[in-house]
Subunit: 155 residues, 2 copies
DNA sequence: CTTTGTGCAAACGGTTTGCAACCTA
DNA sequence: TAGGTTGCAAACCGTTTGCACAAAG
């Protein structure tokens, strides 16, 4: 049940997932993999993504619409474009050399993004809190340009 | 296009949505509404939820699995049970009279839950940040009890 | 040789949509 | 009466699954 084999499909899927900077949907990844393995099936992509997530080699980003996958399982923050749905990593806070480092919020935000055990929120409303998830949303570079009207949804 | 009528269905749907403390899925709400309006259709529930959200009378909580709806559109935090998927409001931080009020995190967490314009994270990676979403996850009272094994998913 | 993984296609489940009748303003 | 709204059922679409065959260890 947890003896996993290294198949060609599996390694290409992980490789392609790690190559892209944005976090693709299963179908997008499927297209990428298909360039190297023309006969892969979408089902195989889904099955392998599930395995990779279970093995801690990738993470699944759920939210509105299609799920997205991240080849890096380490905790870090994501931004989602409200217009096209694209998801990217949020650059490190350190990379922002502005003086706003006063509030503890900044370090906090950085060190405790995904899955912080969050002691001070423990036992709220009878719930045993296990962590929290933070996701930023906004407009990606491309959609900022187009801006204003136009219908939602794209790719 | 934005001239909305007050139909029996619409008001019962909003009324039922406001009556429940947890945040129901469309189908759960459909069952509730059906007790009063035996012939409503699920499609009507979906269409009205969409309208209510657009009117700012409700909010849609997306995440893993089925979407959930909240009859209160004000910004506040949610906890999601990782086992059964149930979503509840997180009680106000003030209700926690423990001395942990030292960190600015607590006030921050309370005042900036949903949709904070988040200036200090502005323009990250070319994105125009519009806000952020925070969601806690953990075990709801019922699932805490059952605990340990058992398969995931319930209701 | 055993067991996990694959391709294919059908099934699933939540949500959306087209349409004719209906009802609110 | 006009145009938003409803019920119904079919369509959609992302994801999952059953099966027989392929391939890894």
């Amino acid at each position: 049940m947890d003896n996993h084999r290294t198949t060609r499909q599996r390694s290409v899927i992980l490789d392609e997932l790690r190559k892209v900077t944005c976090h693709p949907t299963a179908t997008t990844l499927y297209e990428l993999v298909r360039r190297r393995l023309p006969s892969v099936s979408l089902g195989t992509v889904y099955r392998n993504l599930e395995v990779l997530v279970a093995l801690g080699l990738a993470q699944k980003i759920e939210g509105q619409g299609q799920a997205r996958y991240d080849g890096c399982a380490e905790a870090h923050l994501h931004v989602r474009c409200v217009k096209c749905g694209r998801v990217d990593d949020l650059p490190e806070v350190n990379a922002h050399p502005e003086g706003a480092a006063t509030s503890s919020w900044n370090q906090r935000r950085h060190s405790a993004p995904l899955e912080e055990p969050s002691q001070d929120a423990n036992d709220c409303g009878g719930y045993q809190i296990l962590g929290c998830r933070v996701e930023y949303f906004g407009l990606c570079p491309r959609c900022r340009g187009e801006a204003t009207h136009t219908t939602l949804e794209e790719s």
